[in-house]
C-alpha cells in the first residue's frame, strides 16, 4: 500500500498453477516421533513458489490477512532474493512470523483471497512466511531493534501467550518498563502447552520469549494474577497500566453420563501433559500420561487434531475423531486434517457421544454414540446437526479426550468486581482493547474466546498502541 504501483505490462505470462509441495516427514515415520512434520521450503522451492505470484494490484491476499501484512511486497522481496527486506516487510505487521507461518489458518485468510485460489492453487503464503522466518533464525543472533528512551512508566502484562508477548515487546520498544506475569512455569501460553512440538517446535517459542526478555521485559513465571496479586493490587501498586492476555484456558465438557470416568481427559490435560510436561519423553521427564490402545477424540478443531495426532505418536493403536458435523464444517486447519488422515486417524462425522460406559473398575471401556444429520444453518452460518432418532450405537474405546473448546478462566474477573464480562465469561473490550476498568486493556482469547494466534497478536498490537497513547498523553 505504501509504495506507488510501478506501471506494469499486462501479465501475458501463463499462470503457474503448480503449488510447490511442502516437504514432510513420511507418515509411517512421523507416527513414531514428535519432530516437526513439515520440513520447510528449501531456497529453490521458495523462489519457485514466490515466482508464481502475479503481484496483483488490488492485493486481495493482504485484505484477507487479519493484521494486514504487505504480502505482495514480502513475496516480491523473496523473488529478488532479498530476504532481509522480506523479513523487514513481515515484521512491520507481525512480530511472530515463524509461528504464524506455521499455525495460521491461511486457507480461510490470505490464501482464500489469493487470485490464484480461483484456479485452486493459491500462493503458499504461509509457507513463504515461514521460510523467511526460518532464514532469520538460521542467521543466529537476532538484531535487537532500537529501544526508545525510558518513559518512566510501568506496565504489567498478564499472560505470556501471543497477545501478552506482543504487547510486552511493543511497549518495551517504546521505552516503557514492562513486567510480564505468567501462571505456568514456562512462558508462551497455548504455544507451549497446547500446540505440539511436531507442529510448532518449542525452540521457536523459546526464541520469541528470549527476544522479549532481551528487550528489557522482566518475566515473572509461577505468578498467578488473581492469587498472588489481584488486578487492583497491580493498579494500586507501581503499574500505570495493565494488559490482560490470559487466554481462554477453561475446558468445556459434554455433560453426558459417565464423563468423569477414569481415562477420560480434557484436551487441555492431555495436551498439557504431553507438550508442556513432555510426557512423550517419560521417564526422562517425570510426568506420565496413561493412555490405552483405542483412543477417541471428541471434537473437530485444531485442538482435537492435535490431541489425536499426539495419541498416535504416544503409541495408540487406533485413534478415532468423533465430530458432530461434517468434514466441511470442521474448524481445524485444512493442512492438519490432511496430515491427520495420512497418519491413519479415523474420522467419524455426524456423530456425537451421549454417554460413556465403565469396565466395572470405573475406567471407561466404551461410549454410546448417536448419528446426526445436518439441518438448518445456525447463528454461525454452519448447518446445525440434528440427531437421527434410533441411531444409537456403542463403540469400544479405552481412552477419551474431550476437545470441545474452552472459555476464559474466571480467576481475574472473580477477583475484580468492576471488570465487565459477557455471559460467556469473556472480558468486554472496545476495538482498541480498552476494558470497562480504568487503565486496563485486554486482548486475545480472553476477549474473543478461543480464536487464532494471529488475531491474538493483532489485538496485542492495537492495544499496545492505545496503551502507549494513554501512557504518553
Amino acid at each position: 500500500m505504501a509504495e506507488p504501483e510501478k506501471p506494469k505490462k499486462k501479465p501475458k505470462k501463463k499462470l503457474d498453477l503448480n503449488r510447490v509441495k511442502m516437504p514432510k516427514q513420511e507418515p509411517a515415520i512421523r507416527r513414531r516421533n514428535f519432530n516437526e512434520v513439515a520440513l520447510g521450503y528449501t531456497h529453490d522451492m521458495a523462489l519457485k513458489e514466490a515466482n508464481r505470484c502475479i503481484q496483483c494490484k488490488k492485493r486481495p491476499c493482504q485484505s484477507g490477512c487479519p493484521v494486514n501484512i504487505d504480502i505482495p511486497d514480502f513475496i516480491e522481496a523473496i523473488k529478488e532474493d532479498n530476504l532481509p527486506k522480506a523479513l523487514e516487510v513481515l515484521k512491520r505487521k507481525t512480530s511472530l512470523p515463524g509461528i504464524c507461518g506455521r499455525v495460521c489458518p491461511q486457507e480461510t485468510q490470505c490464501e482464500l483471497k489469493c487470485t490464484l485460489n480461483q484456479k485452486g492453487a493459491p500462493i503458499a503464503i504461509g509457507r513463504l512466511e515461514r521460510y523467511v522466518a526460518d532464514w532469520e533464525r538460521a542467521q543466529g543472533e537476532v538484531q535487537l531493534p532500537e529501544i526508545a528512551p525510558s518513559t518512566g512508566k510501568n506496565v504489567a502484562v498478564v499472560g505470556s501467550g501471543p497477545a501478552g508477548l506482543t504487547v510486552a515487546s511493543e511497549l518495551a520498544k517504546l521505552g516503557h518498563k514492562v513486567d510480564l506475569f505468567e501462571a505456568l512455569h514456562i512462558a508462551g501460553g497455548v504455544l507451549v502447552y497446547g500446540i505440539p512440538e511436531f507442529r510448532l517446535p518449542k525452540d521457536i517459542v523459546r526464541g520469541e520469549v528470549d527476544y522479549v526478555q532481551k528487550l528489557g521485559v522482566e518475566l515473572h513465571l509461577d505468578t498467578v494474577i488473581g492469587i498472588n496479586m489481584t488486578l487492583d493490587e497491580l493498579l494500586n501498586g507501581k503499574y500505570d497500566a495493565v494488559f490482560l492476555g490470559t487466554g481462554a484456558g477453561l475446558p468445556r465438557f459434554l455433560g453426558v453420563p459417565g464423563e468423569n470416568l477414569n481415562m477420560i481427559y480434557s484436551a487441555n490435560e492431555f495436551l498439557t501433559r504431553t507438550n508442556l510436561m513432555k510426557a512423550y519423553l517419560y521417564p526422562e521427564y517425570a510426568t506420565p500420561l496413561k493412555m490405552g490402545r483405542r483412543v477417541a477424540v471428541i471434537g473437530g478443531g485444531n485442538v482435537a487434531m492435535d490431541a489425536a495426532r499426539c495419541a498416535v505418536r504416544l503409541g495408540a493403536e487406533e485413534v478415532h475423531v468423533i465430530y458432530r458435523r461434517s468434514r466441511e464444517e470442521m474448524p481445524a486447519r485444512a493442512e492438519e486434517v490432511e496430515n491427520a488422515e495420512e497418519e491413519e486417524i479415523q474420522f467419524h462425522f455426524l456423530t456425537t457421544p451421549i454417554g460413556f460406559l465403565a469396565d466395572g473398575r470405573n475406567n471407561v471401556c466404551a461410549m454410546e454414540l448417536l448419528k446426526m444429520q445436518l439441518g438448518e444453518p445456525d447463528e454461525s452460518g454452519r448447518r446445525r446437526p440434528v440427531p437421527i432418532e434410533g441411531s444409537e450405537y456403542v463403540m469400544d474405546i479405552d481412552t477419551v479426550v474431550v476437545s470441545l473448546g474452552t472459555s476464559p478462566n474466571p480467576l481475574i474477573p472473580n477477583t475484580t468486581p468492576d471488570l465487565e464480562t459477557t455471559r460467556w465469561g469473556t472480558v468486554v473490550a472496545d476495538e482498541k482493547g480498552k476494558t470497562s476498568k480504568a487503565r486496563v486493556w485486554a486482548g486475545g482469547d480472553i476477549v474473543t474466546g478461543g480464536a487464532t494466534v494471529i488475531s491474538a497478536m493483532g489485538a496485542g498490537k492495537i492495544a499496545a498502541q492505545a496503551m502507549h497513547e494513554y501512557l504518553t498523553s
Partner: protein
C-alpha cells in the same frame, strides 16, 4: 529458584520442608496448597501448606514418600532449591464460629490441617481431633495437634495395642452421642476412603461434614480439568472450587478414587482398592 531453608524427617518416610517463597507466604490461608516442580524435567506436584511466616517469607509443608517426586524431594537438603513453586492455590478452608468441631486427619492431613484448626480455635471453637496413622512407626505431628485441640484421639493400626485401629470407631462414638454432646461440624483431611466413610457416618444425623479432596492435579489453576469432581450434580474443579467441599454433596466417590489412583496400579499393585496400603492411610 526457591531455596529450602529447613528440612526434617518426622517419621519413617515423612518429611517436613520449609521453603523461601515470599509471594506465597504473603497470601497464604488455612487449607490452601502449593504446586512445586523440583527441576526443569520434574512433575507438578501439589502439597498442602502446614505453616508459613509472612515476615521471613517462608512456607512449610509435610510430605510422605510415595513415588518419584516425593522420593526425590526426600533427598534434598537445606540449602538446595526447587525450580518452581506456585501458590497459594485453592480456596481457604471455611473458618467461623461453629461450636464443637471434630477434625479427622490422616496422612499429610495430620500436618495440613494444623493451620485450619488453629484458625478455628481462634474463632472460639471447641476442637476434637481424631488422628489416624497406619502404625506407631508412622506416627508424627501428635504433639502439635494435642497442643491446639481440646481433645486428641489417637487411632493406630499395627500391634501397638491401640483400642482404635482406625478413626472410624471413635467418630462413630462421638456421632452416637450427638446431639446430646453436640457436634456442629466435622472436617476431614485424610485419605479418600476414610473421608468417604466419615461422610456416611455423619449423614444420618445430618452433621455438616466437610472434606478436603486431593484428586490428581496438573496446573492447579482450573485449566486442565484433571481434578474435576461432581458436587451437588455440578462439575467442580478441586483446585479452584475446593479442595474443601461439603462431603454430603460429593457424588461418585468411587470414580474419584479410581481417578486418584490412575497411576497407582503399577506401584501399589492394586487389584481393587487396598486402602490400608495407601500412603494416605
Amino acid at each position: 529458584m526457591f531455596t529450602i531453608v529447613e528440612k526434617e524427617e518426622l517419621a519413617s518416610s515423612v518429611h517436613r520442608m520449609r521453603v523461601k517463597a515470599p509471594l506465597v507466604a504473603a497470601k497464604a490461608q488455612p487449607g490452601q496448597f502449593i504446586i512445586l516442580i523440583i527441576d526443569e524435567k520434574g512433575e507438578r506436584v501439589p502439597f498442602t501448606l502446614s505453616d508459613w511466616n509472612k515476615e521471613d517469607g517462608s512456607v512449610e509443608f509435610v510430605f510422605i514418600e510415595v513415588g518419584k517426586t516425593t522420593r526425590a524431594l526426600a533427598k534434598l537438603q537445606k540449602g538446595d532449591s526447587l525450580a518452581h513453586l506456585i501458590g497459594p492455590l485453592g480456596r481457604p478452608s471455611h473458618v467461623d464460629h461453629f461450636g464443637h468441631v471434630v477434625c479427622v486427619v490422616s496422612g499429610y492431613g495430620i500436618a495440613g490441617m494444623v493451620p485450619t484448626i488453629e484458625a478455628l480455635k481462634e474463632k472460639g471453637n471447641k476442637i476434637t481431633t481424631i488422628l489416624q496413622v497406619p502404625n506407631q512407626e508412622n506416627l508424627f505431628g501428635e504433639e502439635k495437634l494435642r497442643e491446639i485441640s481440646d481433645e486428641l484421639i489417637l487411632a493406630a493400626g499395627g500391634d501397638g495395642g491401640f483400642t482404635n485401629p482406625t478413626a472410624l470407631k471413635p467418630l462413630r462414638q462421638l456421632v452416637k452421642r450427638h446431639p446430646r454432646e453436640c457436634i456442629d461440624r466435622v472436617i476431614a483431611m485424610a485419605s479418600f476412603c476414610l473421608m468417604k466413610l466419615c461422610c456416611e457416618i455423619t449423614r444420618p444425623k445430618e452433621i455438616p461434614t466437610y472434606v478436603h479432596l486431593a484428586p490428581l492435579m496438573v496446573d492447579g489453576t482450573g485449566m486442565c480439568g484433571a481434578c474435576r469432581c461432581v458436587v451437588e450434580g455440578k462439575n467442580r474443579f478441586a483446585c479452584v472450587h475446593g479442595p474443601e467441599f461439603n462431603g454430603h454433596l460429593v457424588q461418585g466417590w468411587d470414580v474419584l478414587m479410581a481417578r486418584r489412583c490412575t497411576y497407582a496400579d503399577e506401584i501399589l499393585g492394586q487389584q481393587s482398592f487396598q486402602c490400608s496400603s495407601c500412603s494416605q492411610w
